[in-house]
């Protein structure tokens, strides 16, 4: 009996009763992560060679600037001022003095070096966790020297993915309609550029009106609409080879051709017998299939990333709203119920959201909602803006915005803007001319 008492005392003594305290951390800060991008070091011989080829004095610094700008525009990182760095770029061969980087409050650090090897550009970089004092990633890339900007974008993608958990969107391109001239006589050309606005190229000369270019999610192929002899015509353009192809002439008003997720079909709307419905065309056999059959105006179709559903725009309720349906046209369901008119729905590549343009009380909004219509969030408001297009990771939207003209019809401009899902990181995307109808490519390096 005495023994039992002793055992009970041992087991139920106060010290044993202390349970492990658990604290739930459900909130954090959304401040951009402080990151130090050390200029990539370069040896003297390589520096001279690259200066000859690329006319750049310090290609290591140039690449690090590309990385830094990318990280900053993402809104998720805060690249620290290089003037505050205590260690020189030559640390590429050394383990960083983490104390030095801790002092300037860096939580992550990128170091690396550039070298000239067999007439090629070789870039090594490392990502360090400053607080843990350990290496997180080390990669090397070899390419032709002219590719140096892409190397910067690929490094950013790798760093972004390692630190945020989702794929990046920096090694991508944007195709858009470049506009020039007065509002009533606009010259519209197809143009393409890197996502940061560099390497802009015009693909057409502006003889014909071009509209709504859209990237194929699986390749560097583009579909767009052009008016030939005042008739709408859908084209395919292979960006890599420059080959173009007419998909077909379609009657009446034709709108916004867009690829299916597997790239094998295009989906669009056109008016047959005065009624606008949604159709798909198989690109292999050119068979056209009618998907909706309703007396209302159905337009702007966009596939879900798995290809099983389509979201589109219809006025069948009396007002322009967003609907989803199965890919065979069955199970039509309205998902937008807010005040105002909804248009240009685009399914996110992540599959969780649908972006849209909304018109309410004379203002245009770009917003997102879940695929069941819940959780509507308006990200940005302006005089006139529309045509959102998703970055390949589904985090950022690019769209175009027009400014109001004055009484004399002056002051008009159309520019590309980007905004991320937080709604706080809104940025002007630089283009050499006015621009509209942007479409974001998938990652080039995939």
């Amino acid at each position: 009996m005495f023994r039992i008492l002793i055992i009970c005392l041992v087991f139920f003594s106060p010290s044993k009763l202390i349970a492990l305290i658990e604290v739930d951390i459900t909130r954090g800060n959304l401040n951009p992560l402080p990151i130090a991008v050390s200029p990539l070091s370069i040896d003297e011989n390589s520096r001279k060679n690259f200066e000859k080829i690329l006319k750049k004095k310090d290609i290591g610094s140039e690449i690090s600037i590309v990385v830094e700008k990318n990280l900053k525009t993402s809104g998720l990182f805060n690249p620290l001022n290089k003037d505050a760095f205590l260690q020189a770029p030559d640390i590429a061969n050394l383990k960083p003095r983490f104390e030095d980087w801790n002092l300037i409050k860096a939580q992550a650090l990128i170091t690396g070096k550039v070298s000239f090897v067999d007439d090629k550009l070789r870039v090594e970089f490392r990502l360090w966790d400053v607080l843990a004092g350990k290496e997180m990633m080390a990669l090397a890339f070899t390419t032709v020297p002219n590719n140096w900007r892409r190397v910067g974008h690929i490094i950013t993608d790798k760093v972004y993915e390692r630190l945020t958990g989702e794929k990046g969107y920096f090694d991508t391109r944007i195709i858009y309609v470049a506009e020039d001239g007065p509002k009533t006589r606009r010259i519209k050309k197809l143009a393409i550029m890197d996502q940061d606005g560099a390497n802009n190229k015009f693909l057409t000369l502006g003889n014909e009106l071009v509209l709504t270019p859209r990237f194929n999610p699986t390749s560097q192929m583009v579909t767009y609409l052009s008016y030939f002899k005042n008739l709408p015509r859908v084209y395919l353009l292979d960006i890599e080879t420059g080959m173009q192809e007419v998909v077909g002439d379609f009657p009446g008003m034709t709108f916004a051709p867009r690829f299916s997720p597997d790239g094998k079909k295009i989906i669009m709307s056109f008016a047959k017998d005065g009624n606008s419905d949604i159709y798909t065309m198989n690109l292999e056999n050119r068979i056209v299939e009618k998907i909706t059959n309703h007396p209302s105006i159905d337009t702007s179709p966009s596939y879900s990333p798995d290809g099983k559903y389509i979201c589109f725009n219809s006025d069948r309720s009396g007002y322009q709203q967003i609907y989803i349906m199965k890919n065979d046209g069955s199970g039509v369901k309205r998902i937008s119920f807010g005040k105002g008119l909804y248009g240009t729905p685009v399914w996110s590549p992540r599959g969780d959201l649908i972006a849209f343009t909304k018109l309410h009380k004379g203002k245009f909004y770009i917003g997102v909602m879940r695929t069941d219509g819940s959780g509507e969030r308006l990200l940005t408001e302006n005089f006139y803006q529309e045509a959102p297009s998703w970055s390949p990771n589904g985090r950022v939207l690019i769209f175009y915005r027009e400014t109001e003209t004055d009484d004399k019809g002056k002051g008009f401009s159309a520019k590309l803007w980007s905004i991320d899902l937080t709604g706080y990181n809104e940025r002007l995307v630089n283009t050499p001319t006015d621009a509209s109808d942007p479409s974001w490519s998938s990652l080039l390096s995939n």
């Binding site: 492990l20 604290v23 070899t142 032709v144 630190l163 945020t164 080959m243 007419v246």
Partner: protein
């Protein structure tokens, strides 16, 4: 032929696109294999020696950091600051000083719970006096407090501190089970002597990239927040602490 003529393009040249970049992987290990610079090593050793001296002679180095985290302290400055801290230690107003160092956002959150706690304590004492409860009951209450978790104000203070340190990786999906549990062994001054991710194996499993990113961000938050704002008494209660990091609420918006 008809197709070619009907095209709206005049520029037929293929677009000049750069060739595909080849990617070569370098072996990634937990520890870097980059040789440690002899110069850097010397400097770090020097700093460490100085820090050791400071710890043994005066006060914990964390207090030095708290006073002026942005500056690189000169050796003379360090000694002066440490002396000041020593004075602070004996000063009952120390808690106020600590609160002043947190951000404006946290200040508001911290102020009220502490005051409420003080009021609750006061009211407890008053009611105890008025009811003339026996000493035995007071000891039981004391034991209950020790055996229970942190008080609301203590927990709020700790949470508010970690909220400020935790940069949530915004790319994580909100609809996945991504709870990271970290067990901490704490020193009496709130510094972390050991941290352990309870489901560490999950970090290296294929397809658990999101979990790894979240776990790393949580570890960074703990390191950044050191010393943790722990109660001044009852070390036995909180010398082991489990933090459950869950970003879903924030990611859902």
């Amino acid at each position: 032929m008809i197709t070619a003529i009907s095209l709206p393009f005049l520029a037929k040249k293929p677009i000049d696109l750069p060739p595909i970049v080849s990617i070569e992987l370098i072996q990634i290990t937990d520890k870097t294999n980059i040789p440690f610079a002899p110069k850097a090593k010397k400097i770090i050793e020097k700093i460490k020696e100085k820090e050791k001296k400071l710890v043994s002679e005066q006060a914990p180095p964390k207090k030095v950091k708290k006073i002026k985290p942005d500056a690189v302290p000169m050796p003379e400055d360090k000694l002066e600051k440490v002396e000041k801290i020593k004075e602070d230690k004996q000063n009952p107003e120390k808690i106020d000083n600590e609160i002043k160092q947190v951000s404006e956002f946290e200040k508001d959150e911290l102020f009220d719970p502490n005051n409420i706690a003080a009021l609750i304590d006061k009211s407890k004492t008053e009611s105890a006096e008025s009811l003339k409860k026996s000493n035995k009951i007071t000891q039981d209450q004391q034991r209950n407090v020790e055996n229970a978790g942190l008080s609301l104000s203590e927990e709020d203070a700790l949470k508010a501190q970690i909220f400020g340190c935790w940069s949530i990786p915004l790319g994580l999906p909100y609809n996945e089970d991504l709870l990271v549990r970290i067990k901490l062994q704490l020193n009496p001054d709130g510094t972390v002597s050991q941290s352990e991710i309870l489901d560490h194996a999950r970090m290296n499993r294929p397809g658990q990239g999101f979990y790894k990113v979240l776990a790393e961000s949580a570890l960074r938050a703990v390191k950044l927040c050191q010393p943790l704002r722990v109660p001044t008494t009852g070390y036995e209660r909180w010398k082991e602490l489990q933090l459950n990091f869950d970003a879903r609420e924030m990611l859902e918006g």
